[in-house]
Symmetry: C2
Subunit: 338 residues, 2 copies
């Protein structure tokens, strides 16, 4: 126990990591706040061990500052269905992991400190409920609409994990039973018809069919690549075909949100993720609400708020911190606590 670490960032210093399909944010945090962060590219094709190595190096680098107590645990937000107890990710379509024991592997590279994991949508919900839009709602449903669609459910202030840690897979609710194929291997999932990737795909199809001159012009500046943001831009410029694509996505999201309200009766639904930029949300949330209201009882309609997640990318890090913050007193050596 050196003097330097004792006067460090307080009783607990935690690693917090949010692993995404294209980028990773690694950070250091005290039990109540994020101290510093570093961004890495994911490079999914290099495989999971390579990702874990680079996360370990980043955390080691961040925590080597002389004014910090040693890192005592890591909270890790990862995509994909997983098992919290074993720390194994079952599979992640975007990262190509299969039954990967990410918690053990990262722990091994960090001298054996505890690594606690939860999925990215759960971490984002924990973050929004703790520090963001979800504050003060005991009954909350969260959707993370990005490349895919993740979800999380909070009932009476507690995150619902289900009996295998698989609850909250809102992106794989069945919306169009014989609909388009989904990254999960099935078809007609919400994610397959209303995610950022789905909107991008539908936009690309408009280009192929030459149905949206506005989108074609915007795509020229991006080497012909279409993503959801470009479809939103063209729609904002009054392109009818792009508006129809987004209208259909809002219809599906509205139906899914209505079903969730029928089943769970939450006080609020928080919509976050890359697709929910301030600009996009200004159009998308009212459109989702209008579609949702078509399927709600009068008594439900005024009683649920549909809100945009405020924390953006930071939600996952705050959630990762909430995985480990409760460990502070149990895990840290007494010297650090004193």
């Amino acid at each position: 126990m050196t003097e330097a670490s004792a006067q460090g960032a307080g009783p607990g210093v935690f690693g917090v990591v949010d692993v995404g399909g294209t980028k990773i944010v690694a950070g250091l945090a005290s039990a109540t706040g994020i101290l510093r962060t570093e961004r890495l590219s994911t490079h999914a094709l290099r495989g999971p061990d390579d990702i874990v190595d680079r996360i370990a190096r980043a955390l080691t680098g961040l925590s080597s500052a002389p004014d910090l107590a040693p890192m005592s645990a890591v909270g890790l937000s990862v995509p994909g269905p997983l098992d919290r107890r074993s720390g194994v990710v079952h599979f992640t379509p975007n990262l190509l992991w299969q039954h990967y024991p990410v918690a053990d592997r990262l722990s091994q590279r960090l001298g054996g400190i505890p690594v606690l994991i939860d999925d990215d949508a759960n971490c984002a919900a924990l973050g929004e409920a703790w520090q963001g839009t979800g504050q003060g709602f005991a009954h909350l449903v969260c959707l993370t609409i990005g490349t895919g669609i993740g979800g999380a459910i909070i009932i009476d202030g507690t995150l619902v994990h289900g009996h295998q840690d698989l609850a909250g897979e809102i992106g794989h609710m069945v919306i169009v039973p014989d609909g388009p194929p989904c990254a999960c291997g099935h078809s007609g999932c919400l994610e397959a018809v209303a995610s950022g990737a789905a909107i991008g795909r539908l936009g690309a199809a408009l280009l192929t069919q030459n149905e949206s001159p506005a989108l074609a012009r915007l795509a020229e500046t991006r080497a012909g690549q279409v993503d959801a943001d470009l479809v939103f831009q063209a729609a904002a410029g009054n392109d009818a075909a792009c508006q129809a694509v987004l209208g259909k996505a809002a219809e599906h999201l509205g139906a899914a949100v209505a079903s969730l309200i029928q089943v769970l009766n939450p006080q609020a639904v928080v919509l976050g993720g890359g697709v929910m930029s301030k600009q996009n949300a200004a159009w998308l949330i009212p459109a989702i609400q209008a579609n949702m209201n078509r399927h709600l009882f009068e008594v439900q309609r005024g009683a649920v708020q549909i809100l945009r997640g405020e924390l953006g990318d930071a939600a996952g890090l705050w959630g990762a911190l909430q995985l480990v913050a409760p460990l502070a007193r149990d895990v840290l050596p007494t010297g650090v606590l004193g």
Copy 2:
């Protein structure tokens, strides 16, 4: 306190009532078992006050036996969205109640004893979880498939009510967004495409179109009236049109159950209600499972049981008893407890 009542059914005697669209079962129970019951016709068109009067008379009659302690509280299972605290039923399409304070009204007619209410699907789930198929599952989803479709969710052993007591409205999940009209006033709800009433309606349409000679023959014995059971009978006799109707219902139920599993990750889904007779269930449950599996991850598929509710009509009464049984020590006069 007479000697007779002191040697009665034990410390607590409760009224338990299950109000259905066509019949009502009223009963007396101890904290651990149902002692005697009486059936009434609902006669919905006579209005809610008339129903409450007849329930009160039935309970008074049942409890007037000389060997019983006085009735100390009533647990009441009623259809429709409701508010447990105020004891008001918001609306019930089948009973034509609107903002009806059923708990207060029944309490007034029973000398002011407490009347606790919950909706019929929640009560059925409480019953199945306590005494029936749901025993031993901490994470449970229940569907009651009868004239309508009700639902209930148990997470970590606790019934989920949501913030307005409106959780569990599984029958109003959106399954076919622009589908047929539902009794709730909207369209495309699960109830509108897969309930007993929906199956009966689709059967009647087959008759109108002269598409099912087998069903027509069966309907002759019932003055041309078609209900779900008749469609099941014709399908069991290899009638292709009726098999197609049930196949479609199983497809919708399978999709809804899959969505619920994605969202809640339960250990079991219990299917009860009038449509789930032993005979019907023997065909319907495997068909629902096959459709459901098309939408589940491998890791979910083997880990959830789809089971038939064992208690049938009694589920609601057991659930109603569970509403009041915990009151035993609080409500009963000491003399009775001693």
